[in-house]
Subunit: 213 residues, 2 copies
DNA sequence: GCGATAATAAAACGAACGTTCAATTAATTC
DNA sequence: GAATTAATTGAACGTTCGTTTTATTATCGC
């Protein structure tokens, strides 16, 4: 046997990506074998090498596209000419929505960094740092405008990102809380954490969000 | 050659544990080979099996002792008959101090859970849940006493733990910030996040901490 | 419908893996 | 100082790994 009836390169590659994200998220990059991945796709292991020259190339591609997707989502969601508080709110909403929607890909991008070669690791970290820098900028501008009360901008940014990304560890769709509720609560926690002036965010805003989201 | 001069079981086992924590933290459990571990210790791979029957037993031992150490540290550090705010402060201080001191072991316990067999995974998660439950209790009691202002106790507990544990991702001893400074900032962020009454924590307390820590 | 090309299968490669076993030597006990 | 026990080596086992090679079939352009 060789080429199978109905086979299609694009479809196969997409299936490989999706299966890889799920398998790596579940078992880890090292623990996932190329044969296991091939079986999940319904193909022989050798066929994978038509789309990705090595296993690490596959991992790198998944990570890079995830990070680029995150930046793109934020570029699209960011409000222009908004005050820091509104920008921060948009950042939180976008971050949580993006990560809940791509739980598995996030797991891969966060946990498998050590499996990348040094220069590829650098590339991914560069993307991540650029994204995080945007949060630091918002926090700094808010602090300078005396809208936020922040002791250390860099430290606060890291704390916020860890807190928000952590949602994917425990959050499951269809359980006790909806995405909207979780986002609203995280928004008010964020605003209190940065000492935002208007405590409107902890009371009034969550209702507003029903429409915004 | 066989037994080497000066060889000592206890010393070797301790060396294996330490090397294993470092190697697993750096390369991951699956990526670390028993031969690599043995070489780090200065011994042949077969010698490892005198101390740990399988590779997974080694991983499980490291994790269990880490989690038990965490609970023990908290049992020792927890204040009795203190108000919720002081208890929460003690929890934050203990959590950050413990995790910064054992960065590598924490990485292992958090990232390699998927390499455990189902029932061992359950055991570790049970320990972790018990530890997290103590934070939820503090938060609930503080909320009931109207000392804290919390929308969702469980969600807030998870957010706080993710935020605090995240310190190990970026914090390095001897760089810009000291452990004391980081802890003080995280304490004030925590107190604001839970809406603690006395904003003494965000201003006055950090100075107090120099003595407390 | 025929040639070119895209997509896959099947088999094989050497290397590395976790683990076991028998042999051997150091330390301890009596 | 002989017997016992503790600690380790070195070699080997079968398995699985990522990857390569070669052959074969489906699809598409003309």
């Amino acid at each position: 046997m060789a080429r199978t009836t109905g086979s299609d390169g694009e479809r196969t590659e997409a299936a490989v990506r999706e299966a890889a994200v799920n398998l790596i998220a579940r078992y880890g990059y090292e623990a996932m074998s190329m044969r296991q991945l091939a079986a999940e796709v319904g193909v022989q292991a050798a066929a994978l090498y038509r789309y990705f020259p090595t296993k690490e190339d596959l991992l790198f591609t998944l990570m890079r596209e995830h990070m680029e997707g995150l930046r793109a989502a934020w570029q699209h969601a960011r409000p222009i000419d908004a005050d820091p508080a509104e920008q921060l709110a948009a950042y939180v909403r976008n971050h949580i929505a993006f990560h809940i929607e791509r739980r598995h890909a996030t797991h891969v991008s966060n946990m498998e960094l050590r499996s990348l070669s040094p220069d590829r690791l650098t590339q991914i970290l560069r993307l991540r740092t650029a994204y995080e820098k945007e949060l630091r900028t918002i926090l700094r501008e808010g602090a300078e405008a005396a809208i936020f009360s922040i002791e250390d901008t860099g430290l606060t940014a890291m704390a916020l990102i860890q807190m928000m990304t952590g949602v994917i560890v425990w959050f499951r769709q269809g359980e006790r809380l909806s995405v909207t509720e979780v986002t609203a609560t995280y928004l008010s926690m964020t605003m209190r954490l940065v000492g935002a002036r208007m405590d409107t965010y902890s009371a009034a805003r969550p209702l507003d969000l029903q429409r915004t989201l």
